[in-house]
Symmetry: D3
Subunit: 333 residues, 6 copies
Amino acid sequence: MKRKLVTFGEILMRLSCEDHLRFSQAHTFNVVYGGSEANVAISASNFGMSVDFVSVVPHTDFGNASLAELKISKVGTDNIVFRGKRLGLYFLEKGAVNRGSKVIYDRANSSFAEVKSEWFDWEDILKNCNQFHWSGITPAISKAAAEVCLEAVETAEKMGISISADLNYRGNLWQYDVIPEEIMTNLVSKSNVLLAGGYACKQFFGIQTQNSSNLELFEELTQKFPKLEKIAITNRIEMNASHHKWSANLYNGKTILNSTEYDIFPIVDRVGTGDSFMGALLYGLQHYEDQQALDFATAASCIKHSIYGDINRVSKEEVVKLMEGDISGRISR
Amino acid sequence: MKRKLVTFGEILMRLSCEDHLRFSQAHTFNVVYGGSEANVAISASNFGMSVDFVSVVPHTDFGNASLAELKISKVGTDNIVFRGKRLGLYFLEKGAVNRGSKVIYDRANSSFAEVKSEWFDWEDILKNCNQFHWSGITPAISKAAAEVCLEAVETAEKMGISISADLNYRGNLWQYDVIPEEIMTNLVSKSNVLLAGGYACKQFFGIQTQNSSNLELFEELTQKFPKLEKIAITNRIEMNASHHKWSANLYNGKTILNSTEYDIFPIVDRVGTGDSFMGALLYGLQHYEDQQALDFATAASCIKHSIYGDINRVSKEEVVKLMEGDISGRISR
Amino acid sequence: MKRKLVTFGEILMRLSCEDHLRFSQAHTFNVVYGGSEANVAISASNFGMSVDFVSVVPHTDFGNASLAELKISKVGTDNIVFRGKRLGLYFLEKGAVNRGSKVIYDRANSSFAEVKSEWFDWEDILKNCNQFHWSGITPAISKAAAEVCLEAVETAEKMGISISADLNYRGNLWQYDVIPEEIMTNLVSKSNVLLAGGYACKQFFGIQTQNSSNLELFEELTQKFPKLEKIAITNRIEMNASHHKWSANLYNGKTILNSTEYDIFPIVDRVGTGDSFMGALLYGLQHYEDQQALDFATAASCIKHSIYGDINRVSKEEVVKLMEGDISGRISR
Amino acid sequence: MKRKLVTFGEILMRLSCEDHLRFSQAHTFNVVYGGSEANVAISASNFGMSVDFVSVVPHTDFGNASLAELKISKVGTDNIVFRGKRLGLYFLEKGAVNRGSKVIYDRANSSFAEVKSEWFDWEDILKNCNQFHWSGITPAISKAAAEVCLEAVETAEKMGISISADLNYRGNLWQYDVIPEEIMTNLVSKSNVLLAGGYACKQFFGIQTQNSSNLELFEELTQKFPKLEKIAITNRIEMNASHHKWSANLYNGKTILNSTEYDIFPIVDRVGTGDSFMGALLYGLQHYEDQQALDFATAASCIKHSIYGDINRVSKEEVVKLMEGDISGRISR
Amino acid sequence: MKRKLVTFGEILMRLSCEDHLRFSQAHTFNVVYGGSEANVAISASNFGMSVDFVSVVPHTDFGNASLAELKISKVGTDNIVFRGKRLGLYFLEKGAVNRGSKVIYDRANSSFAEVKSEWFDWEDILKNCNQFHWSGITPAISKAAAEVCLEAVETAEKMGISISADLNYRGNLWQYDVIPEEIMTNLVSKSNVLLAGGYACKQFFGIQTQNSSNLELFEELTQKFPKLEKIAITNRIEMNASHHKWSANLYNGKTILNSTEYDIFPIVDRVGTGDSFMGALLYGLQHYEDQQALDFATAASCIKHSIYGDINRVSKEEVVKLMEGDISGRISR
Amino acid sequence: MKRKLVTFGEILMRLSCEDHLRFSQAHTFNVVYGGSEANVAISASNFGMSVDFVSVVPHTDFGNASLAELKISKVGTDNIVFRGKRLGLYFLEKGAVNRGSKVIYDRANSSFAEVKSEWFDWEDILKNCNQFHWSGITPAISKAAAEVCLEAVETAEKMGISISADLNYRGNLWQYDVIPEEIMTNLVSKSNVLLAGGYACKQFFGIQTQNSSNLELFEELTQKFPKLEKIAITNRIEMNASHHKWSANLYNGKTILNSTEYDIFPIVDRVGTGDSFMGALLYGLQHYEDQQALDFATAASCIKHSIYGDINRVSKEEVVKLMEGDISGRISR
């Protein structure tokens, strides 16, 4: 039986200041690698799924290094293409209290941005796959990336593979000549599972809702994209940069499910928390009923806020313990 | 006049990840040394008591290094035996928010675990002592350690020395062929001062209480161990790994005394906080009335939560300032 | 048009322990440079004002290094005198929760403390200046410093330059033979803008007020120092060393203005927050109405609590964003 | 065609002091993982060979972490067994000039030391293997390890697989009841490729040679172990802890081949240099004539002296460049 | 009298691995900023010259940060243009012994590469200038950069300003459609002072010389570029990556002058050593006779090898001390 | 039998830059504590002598911290007086190759400099002492320090205790109104063992010798100071800051003994190497014949060059191994 998750996207080098130093104070940067779809891949693999990550990285020391975490987590890397000149970068200054974190992207002209259609044989790549995952970052990177993403989605659709997406709106990308709504509508219309968000829906599809509940948004999305079977939304209430409240909803076309709300304070690293939700949700939907899947994903992503880096280094056991209500953070010895 | 405190137990090397890194992310470990009874010794010495620590460490660079903090704090080390092959270790991953801290012990077959009775002349060691302290960790380590601990306690009892104990239940120890209840009952029955805890009492003695107040537990303990003159319990409410509420009770056979409850957030290092309470309580009981002794111990251990390492590096003046109600944490300059 | 701010005072090397380590645990110190009047200078310059800092530093590598941040921020350093033997130092141990931070000054006999009147031609220094700023730390350092400060203030007064002051009471200074009240009364009586504080007013001028509101204090100060046009007070409520509430008032001789109260938790570095308020207030008073000036200064200094070092590294845009009510600390990417 | 190298041995956590600090000065340890046979596996894999590493590690965070470098380097880990209680450790203090480096082993009772025969199906493990590699460290660890090592060697012999060995004499191991000569003679007599050494040969086999040349030793070994087809010896001249001269010889039963002698100063990390020679030799013998294989192995291990950690992170291209005579260490940009 | 040095070129962020770690081992990068012409500017300014650096940097935190060192060293930055999207980067892995250092450039599409002619009014920029300096890196970056460089050189020539150049051949640049020889010939033909090199002369001009002495090269250059008044060559003999021999020659059209040869071992940081020679030579030629100028430049650049970063942080006094023969490196206290 | 060594002098906080960073590059300082006479005390104690260190430190966290290393090494600290305001400091920038190390003293007005005669009862302090040691740094610090040093020396002389001295000429000290020759002549004339040096002898006593051998100097010293029984000189040949040759001579009034010459490269930390010689010589003279004592002291101080900090952390066994000729720096494992 085919049980492989395949994700497709860009992986970046992240250079972050120590502690809460500002960029202007940084004499060292800490280095990790991550990217939305790679983060999803690793999350799902850490819970035991069979996962493949498809990407393009340059044939340099940094291209190689970007794959280390995937290999350690047993994510397949055989379909990663070594081409082009540079790995995309992003710089991260970690805020605190009323000073927000700051990201400076330096990813233009990356190997991934210059991806070519002929480098991938999607039918072959997806041959053992039962879930294909993409995010809104990929079509935002470049025309080429958008086209390859569409080819992947179309192939998956043709092969009857379930398709999941994270809208992931990034206003600073989408720099090429494109109407985001068109391409995103096309891509989402072929997808079955969606991680949405009010702001992204407004930016991408002009959907505006008034109720504080997410139900209206779920209904509009379902109407617009009839193939969607499950839609999730994470609710982040930002008290300040160090303190968030975190919960999520899952909609299955009929009912709206609610998760516990977690109070997260002080946050260690919020980058990648959405991806950790997505990775855990994909795992959850294959192993649990919907409510449990939602609870699993919310708990997993809650814990991610306490973990340095883009990647959720957490075990299934740890997630289950929190999901079952133990918020004590008790020392285990 | 005899006024020396003698404590007996194992001292370990602690290897902890930086900040909140997980074990799998650690490229460096920070090194300190500590152990419950050594921590008590240093705490008491820092407040001005005359203290001796008795232990076994290997004749290696690490055996020597483990004693540095004791020497700096003027704790006597003349009765520490240099024997055996290895210093016990433990690894510490510091959690945050809903992710708990994690300890991996690597202390089997340590020099201390292979302690021999003939290495200690307890009558000589205790000759200027008026307080002997042991904890439930020592008999849990090995049969040999339990036996030597009992010899020490029996000698102290015979010499009329006050005996104090911290139950310190550690489920992962007690790996040898033993009924913990038997040996602990024997040891506690000879003791006069006890730092107890609801969970430990249940595990060791099967005592189960229903009230949220600690009174019932105090009464059961007093009944079971008539020699006990003072029993203390610390109350830790774990909001999450970063946020605890902390208070304590002291029972003198008649009345139950309550301390202030401190709200501790964000915690810097919670390891050794119980020991810091014990060390301060032993100091307090010799220098104050009971209520003040309790307040001193609670305040001292509250501050420990803000100090890196196993050891409470705090002055008597700092404790008194907090004990008298100044929780402002005002900068002194 | 003259639009230059000139500040006069001492700049120090600050040696701080890593994280929350105690002095006794420190194997490294982090090094930055700062001082109340230099901090004000840099803050104002970062918002776009033309600023000059006047001081004395030794002709050593550390004297030079102390000026780097000023030069980077385009603060003029042409009137800094290179003389004397040593740069003043201070050591900082950063507290947490119920353990306060601790400063050990080591600034006696510094180059600045041995300042000489003949090193400065104040008429020349102040020729393009429209605002001269001093603080209560300078006359506290030494008789010589107090005298030169007075000369500067007198020259500014004679030249019709607006004079601002921060009372900055430091009980551990004022070590020479002096009556602080006399010299401070003389200096403040020539000043037009004041950053005051209840404790400092009591120590310096014996002013004691009963109301929880600052109005009474403002009125007493206005009466005593009729030249004062604007008086500000910052209100710091210390929940503990990691958690403060922060607001401010501004009085223009008639009405008392209130700022937003910010909840700041967890604090990254509270040293220099008062200076960041002062620098922003001087900017604000030249560019805004009073209420906005107060709001700008309060928001700027709120953010300073999240920034390592003595200096407020924040842009006008970041301050305005918070001042306009966005406390979310949202990540910008 | 079978072209896989399989190596079998223990992998350890290495904890090393920063820079040249002594153990007594260490407040942090740097962490890497390594072990003779794992190092050989990674070296060979980095040059492009298909490699499998067989071992036992505990089912803990450290057991998992010890495999990261293998996975990153594409060494197969499917035959690694997760059992037992602890990962072996060693501590490293790096000397300089006339102060030698110091290793403290803490590997007794490790998961590997308690290996069990039934955990491995050697016929299956070796089914695609054409080279099996072991070292003298494995039989030195414990009786159990020696037995499993012998089973592996016997199976390989039976399956007609070439067997290589590194004598790797470690006097501090061999702590169980054993005559090292017996077991080593048995194991080496079945091997075809040997990395020997004068001191090891004397300790293990009582072979003592007088000439400064290695020819006599080669001849004695060939006579004693007729199956040996290739014997290599590395020649390390220790000027002091920071400065070595490094060369090697290879003997094919008839002639003795000599490598270049490299002057290595200052050494960055000498641990694992022998293993880097072995790994490169195994690669070389499959891809080159003998002289080139020797030159390749000597150059590869020369470069290892400049690389931190147990593992030789060097590309084939870099080795070839040095092997062809470019010792300039010219910057590439 | 006009006495200002103006240099024009790109400044980059440099990200280097700690110690001798390889890129694949790096979890942190150390950050400094530098670039050939900025390094020359700072060197000359540190010796007391009046200097201006002209460049383009993006209007980001990193654009600002790249100027800090210039400002600290009093290099004028008023003619630096804030435009474009990214600061160029380079990554540095520091070799040792027989492993060379490795640079990975990531500077394509930088703000400087997309420089525009209209951003600079060269007549105004050069109005107080008596020495204009450029290097062969600038025309190699992009067509736009080459054009602006030529405009600057032509303007300087027209204004009668002395022009200096460092050939600085970088094979990995020159990626646009260009014949390097043409543009370099044009630029050098207008220059008066040249830092050349045998390899660069061969690459750029096809000049090939046979003698080990540099005289022939000097004569060919003088013939080809009759405006050249002074030509210098540095002689680097690379024993290995840690050990160089370093000397230089200066030719004034008639005689060839020789410097001392320095034995530099172990090298701390060799990047920027050529620039430190150039900066010191420009200072020397204005303040000394030719032989002393050569000696000053050679000594200054010798010391640079012991200083971390791209920039030569050395005082005139320190250079003179070495130049006068004190190679002892005696501690000063 | 009296067998205690007592040393008297100042202990300082040392703040050194990381690696080879210049002061202007330092964002952190590493902290250790040391001082000539404390270093001697610890060296001798580490070899097994009974030692007491006498000094004055302030009653601050830094005064306490300065004693930690003494306590760890079992040097007696009971006669250290806690008085005054500040601990002396010194800053250290570590040179390399042709750039020398740089020390900036900041020790004026320290607690020790303001020592008072009445704080010490020398007869009591020296009651179990058989060797009193002082160095030329102490009388150089202040008039008060010189007077107390003289009192100590006079008391020791009166009590028949052997007196040793290290001339330790520091030109930057001796800032008070004094003729160094007078006081040094007085002090040395009462001493029995001397560590001298050609430069110090010239500065202090005007002794100038012409021969490259030290014999003439020994003879002049013996003539001038007839009480001297043993005089040692260390010979440091500074190839450059990273590379020294190191040997020593000992003169017993009749013959001159020579040590091995060690080639030390690259030096880790040269501060305190003279003190390590002195401490080992005092041990050696009590336990060996003169030649061996010299060899022991030279070997011990050779090793000190490889150890970070002021203090020689080396065991007697390690010294003996080198002293017996093993310069290989072989790894011990």
